[in-house]
């Protein structure tokens, strides 16, 4: 919250220099306190931040300066410093002067929390914070030109597990995650008439400095050995990326064209040292594995694009898009692996190490073509035919100590055709589309060679107070290979009614159906005996939702409710989420706030992860103008 305090101080420092009667000021602030009750804290299987405490629910301060000669026109500060009804905290500050400049600073914190010992053996548990800072300054004081300066920082920090397999067992390694991505960008825009040119140059660094937490980790018990693992790590993976991009646009009366090119030049340096010490509890012996990596990689990316749209006739628009993208990585990595067998003594009985110089060259070139025809003879209806092709080539070349280990050079292609139409009625519209996609798989991808799907949707204003909308989508992924028997079928139906009951009161109800059927034959050998088995996954989710709002005298309220039930065979569960909030106007500037949330999660197969939460928020809102 340091940045919020700094900005409020800055705010307080700037404003006294202006005569108050010349400024239009508005302040809107809500404070509150959250009470929480839960059956099974602190385990929550969702993305909500359910926690107790005082909070700044909402802050908005806006100052408008009508004085044309002043150095600023609008200044605003907005913040949510602890909105418990959904995750995340945010501060945003902006300063603008029309025709001169604009400046925006934003910082947001989002929590990424997950805790489930049963899911992937607990290896995905995490409690991370994503801190995102961005600043943008745009100077528009020169005719036709805009100068741009941007800064961005994203940090992922906190604790998070990583799965690891050794000795026929799986360990959930505990890491203190520390990954950051920092970006500086300078840019220039030139805009005259129908012509526009945008130039950008960015300098990006990505640092990965995650460390194992102190302590030992036990295996999940899949092995006959009973082991305790003590890991440690040092070193970093550092990447520097230079990104240059240019974009040219021309917007004519009946056509529009854009040409884009960007070149990204990345260098990755890896000097990680990773030590894993295993103690075999049954035998009292210890074995260490020390891995030392030293190497670097060049990873240039070239990206070019062309888009042209032409209003060929009053009723016909023809569009063509082309995108060419090429990624190469050229890696030389030395890895030294040392195994130390200690037995039951404190000094190693056997030490064996080997050092390998691994070379790896990766090259993925992809060319996309897109062509579409939109025919609209009348305002009431239009049809669109779209054709897309992805044409790619993948090359691998691996070597160990100078000897080539494997080479891959394969082409892949995806073709997609889609036909869509829309018909507008006097009080609504109907849309429909159908597509087919054929996939000539790249190497390693051995399943799924065609996708098909369709969708139909509509909206209708039944009367002045009732409207209805509906969408139905179906998509399948299949494979012609009879031994695979791959089938993936997804269905979505959503339909809702909205009612305007009286002035100031509205209500909506809806139903959602989401189904997924997946089946696939597996082909593998076990003890050199071919084995065939089938894997299947099935979900059948039905959701009901309702929402409403009302205003009556001094009361303003909102309610929303959602219920989901998955009766599929693979992961059946049910989930409730209901929120009611109201605001009471105490005086012209003072309001009382009350919110209630009920959240409930139940899995059918086991009640280990089930929980429910009741959350109450009380607060005061002060509006000053």
């Amino acid at each position: 919250m340091k940045i919020l305090i700094i900005l409020i101080t800055l705010w307080a420092a700037i404003l006294p220099s202006f005569s108050a009667d010349k400024l239009e000021m508005k302040t809107d602030v809500s404070f509150g306190y959250t009470f929480l009750s839960s059956e099974d804290s602190p385990y929550f299987k969702n993305h909500y931040d359910f926690s107790n405490g005082a909070m700044l629910q909402d802050l908005k301060m806006v100052v408008r300066n009508p004085d044309a000669g002043s150095w600023f026109g609008t200044m605003s500060l907005e913040s949510r410093a602890g909105d418990r009804l959904d995750t995340g905290r945010v501060v945003r500050f902006s300063l603008k002067k029309a025709g001169r400049y604009s400046f925006t600073l934003k910082q947001s914190w989002n929590r990424d929390f997950f805790a489930d010992a049963a899911y992937n053996y607990g290896a995905n548990n995490r409690n991370l914070t994503r801190n995102n800072v961005s600043a943008e300054f745009r100077w528009t004081g020169f005719k036709n030109f805009a100068l741009i300066a941007e800064y961005g920082l994203v940090e992922t920090k906190g604790t998070g597990n990583q799965p690891y397999t050794e000795w026929n067992d799986i360990y959930a390694l505990r890491l203190n995650r520390d990954i950051s991505r920092e970006r500086y960008t300078a840019g220039l825009d030139y805009h005259k008439g129908a012509f526009k040119l945008m130039l950008r140059q960015s300098w990006v660094t990505v640092d990965e400095k995650s460390r194992y937490q102190d302590g030992t980790v036990s295996g999940t018990g899949l092995s006959t050995f009973d082991t305790a693992l003590t890991p440690s790590r040092s070193g970093t993976v550092e990447s520097t990326i230079l990104i240059s991009s240019a974009r040219l646009e021309y917007a004519g009366n009946s056509w529009w064209a854009s040409v884009r090119y960007s070149h990204s030049d990345a260098t990755i340096d890896n000097d990680v040292v990773d030590l894993k010490q295993y103690v075999f509890s049954d035998y009292g012996s210890r074995t260490d594995f020390l891995m030392t990596f030293a190497g670097s990689s060049d990873a240039p990316v070239d990206d070019a694009g062309l888009s042209v749209s032409v209003q060929a006739m009053d009723s016909l628009v023809v569009s063509y898009d082309l995108n060419w993208r090429e990624l190469k990585t050229d890696t030389m990595l030395n890895s030294e692996r040392t195994m130390m067998l200690y037995g039951t003594s404190d000094s190693p009985l056997v030490t064996a190490s080997n050092s390998t110089d691994s070379g790896f060259y990766y090259h993925n070139r992809r060319l996309n073509h897109g062509l579409s025809f939109k025919y609209q003879p009348q305002r009431q209806w239009d049809v669109t035919l779209s054709l897309r092709q992805v044409d790619g080539n993948l090359r691998h070349s691996a070597s160990e100590d100078g000897e080539t280990d494997g080479i891959i050079d394969e082409d892949y292609t995806t073709n997609r055709v889609e036909f869509a139409g829309r018909y507008r009625l006097s009080a609504g519209s109907v849309k429909a589309s159908v597509f087919h996609e054929s996939i000539d798989n790249p190497v390693y991808r051995t399943a799924g060679d065609k996708r098909d799907g369709f969708s139909i949707s509509g909206d209708w204003m039944i009367s002045d107070s009732v409207s209805w909308n509906v969408v139905y989508q179906d998509a399948t992924l299949k494979d012609d290979n009879p031994t695979l028997l791959l089938n993936r079928d997804t269905t979505l139906l959503d339909s809702s009614f909205q009612f305007t009951l009286t002035k100031g009161a509205a209500l909506g109800v809806g139903y959602t159906l989401m189904k997924l059927d997946f089946s696939n034959n597996l082909l593998f050998n076990e003890d050199e005996v071919p084995v065939s088995s089938a894997e299947a996954y099935n979900t059948d989710q039905s959701g009901v939702y309702a929402f409403g709002s009302f205003t009556a005298n001094r009361f303003t309220g909102r309610v929303s409710f959602f219920y989901l039930d998955d009766s599929g065979s693979s992961f059946p569960l049910s989930h409730w989420n209901g929120v009611a909030s109201c605001q009471y106007k105490i005086s012209r500037t003072l309001y009382g706030l009350l919110s209630v949330r009920y959240y409930d999660y139940n899995e059918d197969a086991s009640n280990v992860r089930d929980y429910n939460v009741n959350q109450f928020v009380v607060g005061i809102r002060w509006l000053f103008q």
């Binding site: 949510r80 799965p163 990447s239 529009w256 990755i268 695979l484």
Partner: protein, 277 residues
């Protein structure tokens, strides 16, 4: 003499024609506000003000006739305008937008599907939220009014942070340039903005992230599965593409049932071309 007579005759004709044609002219904002006084306070909060050289008639056309006969038929009203008519007006100033850049700009009422009329800044939540860019709604409701399928997904237990402060959709999508966005399928590049641990760059790249991007395995709009995955278990995901796993991967054995237990760096690795770290 004849020439003089001809000139006089032509001059007389021109004067008669000029006098017979009503001359249309701008009446100025003050004349408009005499009747439409309710918009004055709202328009002051938008960029559509005289200080930015925007007058009522810049959008609604000359108001002379309308001032004489206040009917909606003799002034440019946007309530029943087509997308072309709306775009023609808005792009006079907002020249960086073009109807052919995005399907959003050529359907319905174009700009006015999402932005309120230039002088009616809509305050949402009973005036709590600011009138950012004159949007009808600053939350994701702006998009999910039409994209109902995405709204259904956002109601699932796992979804991206979404509240009334910001429109979460705009974190990833640019509604003014849908065509370029869909073609490039640069989904992985968008995700890396907030997820640097998965965005790379990597020495060893997973091809799965290169074509359809992260959405090959994750559903960014919402999921009932942790990590926004399309399946409750990773093996169902991996098998969608990799059906012929090497022989020793006996999926009946518990330790092979979660592929990422070994292939833990599945987004990309800096130590292993098999994504095992």
């Amino acid at each position: 003499m004849k020439a003089r007579l001809c000139f006089s005759f032509l001059f007389a004709v021109m004067v008669c024609v000029a006098l017979s044609v009503p001359v249309l002219g701008n009446v100025g904002d003050d004349s408009c506000l005499e009747c439409h006084d309710g918009v004055q306070a709202a328009i002051a909060r938008t960029p559509h003000v005289a200080a930015n050289k925007v007058s009522c008639e810049a959008c609604h056309g000359v108001g002379d006739a309308h001032a004489d006969d206040p009917s909606v038929d003799n002034i440019r009203s946007f309530r029943r305008s087509s997308s072309k008519q709306v775009m023609a007006t808005c792009t006079k100033c907002h020249t960086d937008k073009h109807a052919l850049m995005s399907s959003h700009l050529s359907n319905g009422r174009a700009c006015l599907e999402c932005h309120s009329l230039g002088h009616s800044s809509t305050f949402t939540e009973n005036g709590k939220r600011p009138e950012r860019a004159s949007l009808k709604d600053v939350s994701a409701n702006l998009c999910t009014r039409c994209h109902a399928g995405e709204k259904a997904k956002m109601n699932r237990p796992f979804h991206h942070p979404s509240d009334d402060f910001d429109n979460v959709c705009l974190s990833c999508h640019n509604p003014h340039e849908t065509r370029a966005e869909l073609l490039r399928k640069a989904v992985d590049q968008k995700c890396a903005i907030c997820h640097p641990e998965a965005g790379g760059p990597f020495m060893y790249v997973h091809l799965g992230t290169q074509n359809r991007g992260c959405s090959e395995c994750h559903d960014p709009h919402g999921s009932t599965n942790p990590n926004l995955l399309n399946r409750s278990s990773t093996r169902f995901l991996c098998l969608s593409c990799h059906s012929d796993t090497p022989d020793f991967h006996n999926l009946a054995d518990p330790k092979y049932r979660q592929c990422t237990s070994c292939h833990s760096a599945i987004h990309g690795s800096n130590t292993s071309n098999l994504f095992m770290e």
